[in-house]
């Protein structure tokens, strides 16, 4: 038995082949493992990197993690083009094919249920950033003539700042309401840290929307139209993603567990 089995996703049998040159985690092309009419998409990965100890160590290495995350996402992306995959969390590894089959058998009902729920749907990510601080109205340039002038300037600056944040909040919740009404489900994620994303501006809305494929074009246009609504705010759209944010739980409405 050479190597371990890294599982990316579970899906229905593919209607079209995956792109031929696709490579996955550890450079291994993803393979399709069929069990009871469902498919697990797996790569053969070496024990030296994916056994418990090395995997644990690798996860702390951001270079390795980045590469692996991109490879994982690359396979999920390719699957999303041809089917509706249930993406598994990064680092789901089994000893051999039969380990994967046992897992599929145990979770078969869940998988079918979730696949039915997500069939033909994709996830769109929408983020709102506060792009810039308000112009400082020449604060440093024009020297305050007196203490009172200084305070007045300062107050103007602080007020402009607060206004922008309030505007951002209102804009974000309005946008979220509109987009939610055009989506089947939605999730609010924690705002991203600018340092990790490497993107300028303060992230005030980080949301995911579950949208059917045939309504996606409309959804994208809807987001596009809001883009320039408020100066100083930036709307960013990502996707289509596999329905990562909606694969885990049953439903967003009536979270009563």
């Amino acid at each position: 038995m050479t190597g371990l089995r890294y599982v990316y996703a579970v899906c229905h049998p593919l209607g079209a082949p995956l792109q031929a040159e696709l490579t996955g985690v550890a450079g291994d092309p993803p393979r399709l493992l069929t069990h009871h009419g469902l498919i697990a998409v797996v790569s053969h990965v070496p024990e030296r990197d994916f056994a418990e100890q090395p995997l644990r160590a690798h996860l702390e290495d951001l270079d390795w993690l980045t590469e692996t995350a991109r490879a994982h996402q690359g396979v999920i992306d390719a699957l999303t083009v041809v089917t509706t995959p249930l993406p598994l969390r990064l680092g789901t590894v089994f000893r051999d094919d039969s380990g994967v089959r046992v897992m599929m058998e145990a979770r078969e009902d869940d998988f079918r249920h979730t696949l039915d729920r997500l069939e033909g749907r994709v996830e769109w990510g929408v983020k709102v950033y506060v792009e810039s601080e308000p112009e400082e109205t020449g604060e440093p340039a024009e020297k305050a003539a007196s203490g009172r002038d200084y305070l007045r300037q300062r107050r103007r600056y602080v007020r402009a700042h607060e206004d922008l944040w309030q505007q951002a909040e209102e804009f974000a919740s309005r946008l979220h309401a509109v987009l939610s009404s055009h989506a089947e489900d939605s999730r609010l994620h924690a705002p991203q840290n600018a340092t990790l994303s490497g993107i300028s501006g303060q992230n005030v809305l980080n949301a995911a929307y579950l949208v059917s494929r045939h309504e996606s074009e409309e959804f994208v246009e809807l987001v596009d139209r809001t883009k320039d609504d408020v100066p100083g705010l930036r709307v960013e759209l990502t996707g289509p993603w596999a329905a990562y944010s909606f694969a885990g739980e049953e439903t967003g409405e009536g979270d009563t567990t």
């Binding site: 083009v81 990790l196 996707g239």
Partner: protein, 124 residues
Amino acid sequence: MTTMASRLPEPYAQGSSANLADILERVLDKGIVIAGDIRINLLDIELLTVKLRLIVASVDKAKEMGIDWWEDDPALSSGARRKELARENSELRERLAQLESGSAQREPQRSQRSQKSPKSQKES
């Protein structure tokens, strides 16, 4: 254009240009959780994301100072770790050179102290 079958609009900020935070957010935090044969506790991944956030938070300062945390943080980048070692090495060499030249001038003091030091036994 996009693949016909899916009738999807052009991807937005996907593929290689997708921001790393977007990808990590999904592949680590979302998706279906299954305990594989190789047990990396979920806690580990949660801890990892927390850790990433902490690292990220703590380098805000560094970023302000114009340091590219991503490339240069030795805790995060193996390339940076090598660079860090090289830098530390040359720093140490520099300090050693300074110490050597300094100690040459302060020879008397040094020999006084070295009488008490056990190392001096080796030297003598």
